[in-house]
Symmetry: C2
Subunit: 356 residues, 2 copies
């Protein structure tokens, strides 16, 4: 294993120490681990909090700042943060306007975020939860705990963060975040496996002429292994799956903040088709350089055009990664006027910044 | 070779087509190849132009926009752009205030940029040239054409671009850019070689327990091959070399715009030591994820502290890369009040953006 690291066990904390030094306007706590805005709480402003396993940088810590996350809680690599991290982060940034908790749909995350929700509620802080489950590669709720949360997380954090910054109330922020998720679809592929430091070797082996299509962000297996193909074919492979996925229905749990209990609710994806406008995220899995992403974007525009779908915003680069994995993912989120306005709002974080 | 590409020969043009689609406010020409600001020329504003081989993305095309480059000319991978590209780009963006041409110090680039300078001068456009040669790994003018231009290029483009945006005249912009170069030092190392698409295989072989220290951005060999070491040791290895390099002197060529001829001039690096303030660039070579860069930054701050040098600005991420190479480089540029002000000025480009 070749990495720029010291002791494997120090990977997350040393990375956080580096961030603390690089961004002195962020509050970095190592015990429990969270990165938070220094200028919160602010009366009337919802605090958007997320987190998840490390190894997906810049997600989530790189998105903490004005107009995006109030706080992020990193777990160990590919491991959920613990409830106490989320609880302590919430206590630091929450005002009377409450906390919106963004949960990527993985079994461990859901378990710990749900416990944290109950702790934060018991503290008297109004809280709402939003589950992100946009990865269309995995549909079966039998094989896994439903679809995984991937690229839409980035878009949701930007938009819900802008809503919070604009002073929208908790229920409205939650409604907007859920809308982004229902409007979003993602799929990715890998040219190489990532190498988890603690394992010291690649998570899966791929031959020099093989790719893994439908990959997860933790090195989970994809839909199938296929032969190495051209960038255009890869882009077509993912885009056609994304564009043929519609009206996916599933039952999810959401916190009922009035009654202090969990509700099961059926949610159905919005349709995506001719005449729709989208934001396109072309995301590097970590080891793929940006030059190759532009080649993907070129073909993606052509394919969307052919389907009558117009890309009106784009984000191209490494935003939700899997350590050093080579590969990319595509996320399309249907946009409406309100989502465009919130997307365009100023943001200032380590990884995403404009207007400030 | 595993890459997200189509035909090898289309790598650069397809990437540019992707950029054209992603950034409709940029003018992308495929014949000759350049990316330029759409809102230039503007009377009284110097046009900052650079370029170089492709494969170092986001450099240079990713830095075209308000407050940075007026235009960038990409060559084929690791190959200089031709004089006609630079000449045509200059004709598109130059006002009466003239053109400042930034040249990374490589034999091919210098040759073609010098020819372009003469063509642009013959067109009646005032022109100044600035050579960037900050890579302290290579000092001998016998072995190579002097020190290579690497990380300081990014800092120079931001600062000279801000000076041009602020309406500084050509000679002042040139003086500021040269000051950044005299104030800057860089060094890098590689964990893996890059793979040039046309070659189809790695440029050099490294064993699983080896790194190459003092690497160039084209896969040029480093100072020496060493054993794999910890992130802290790697950071120390580069930082100590950078901090012990002082008062490097060399003779370079600069265009004499009054007499229309080349002048040879001796330039000497500014000292860097106790009490100085710097910007630190911790740069991924392309395949190294940002998480590892923060571990480097953590140690870099400690080492600079021990030397009495204060890092007052930082830039951490992939900015001047070598395709998919894993590794990193460190650049330190001594800052003064004017350089800080220009660094902080608003910028809006695909790869670097704030305040707009």
């Amino acid at each position: 294993m070749k990495k720029i690291i010291n002791a494997v066990d120090d990977f997350v904390s040393e990375q956080m120490q580096g961030m603390a030094l690089a961004y002195p306007d962020l509050r970095v706590s190592l015990d429990p681990k969270y990165i938070a805005r220094m200028d919160l709480p602010q009366a009337g402003k919802v605090a958007l909090i997320s987190g998840g396993g490390s190894g997906h940088e810049p997600l989530h810590a790189g998105f903490v700042g004005t107009g995006m996350l109030a706080a992020a809680c990193p777990g160990e690599i590919f491991t959920s943060p613990t409830p106490d991290q989320l609880y302590e982060a919430a206590r630091i940034v929450a005002s009377d306007a409450g906390v919106l908790l963004l949960i990527k749909n993985y079994t461990g995350d859901v378990l710990n975020f749900e416990t944290a929700t109950e702790l934060i509620h018991a503290e008297g802080i109004p809280i709402q939860t939003v589950l992100v489950d946009d990865d269309i590669a995995v549909k079966s709720a039998i094989k896994t705990a439903g679809r995984r949360g991937t690229g839409s997380t980035v878009i949701t954090e930007k938009i819900a963060g802008a809503a919070a910054e604009a002073g929208y109330d908790l229920d409205t922020c939650a409604e907007i975040a859920r809308r982004v998720n229902r409007n979003g679809r993602s799929m990715g592929l890998a040219l190489t496996s990532c190498t988890v430091p603690a394992a010291g070797k690649v998570t899966f082996q791929l031959a020099t002429d093989e790719i893994e299509v439908g990959i997860g962000i933790h090195g989970e297996p994809g839909i199938r292994r296929e032969s190495l193909m051209s960038a255009d074919k890869m882009t077509e492979r993912l885009t056609e799956e994304i564009l043929s996925d519609n009206s996916y229905s599933r039952v999810i749990r959401e916190w009922d903040r009035i009654n202090g209990t969990w509700l099961e609710r059926e949610i159905v994806d919005e349709t995506l088709g001719r005449g729709d406008e989208v934001i396109a995220l072309v995301n590097s899995m970590g080891g793929t350089p940006i030059s190759e992403l532009y080649i993907v974007y070129r073909k993606l525009v052509e394919l969307c055009d052919a389907h009558g779908i117009k890309i009106i915003r784009n984000l191209i680069g490494p935003y939700i990664t899997s350590l050093d994995m080579q590969g990319f993912s595509i996320t399309l989120v249907k946009f409406d006027d309100e989502l465009i306005k919130l997307w365009d709002a100023p943001v200032k974080t380590p990884a995403l910044r404009w207007g400030i």
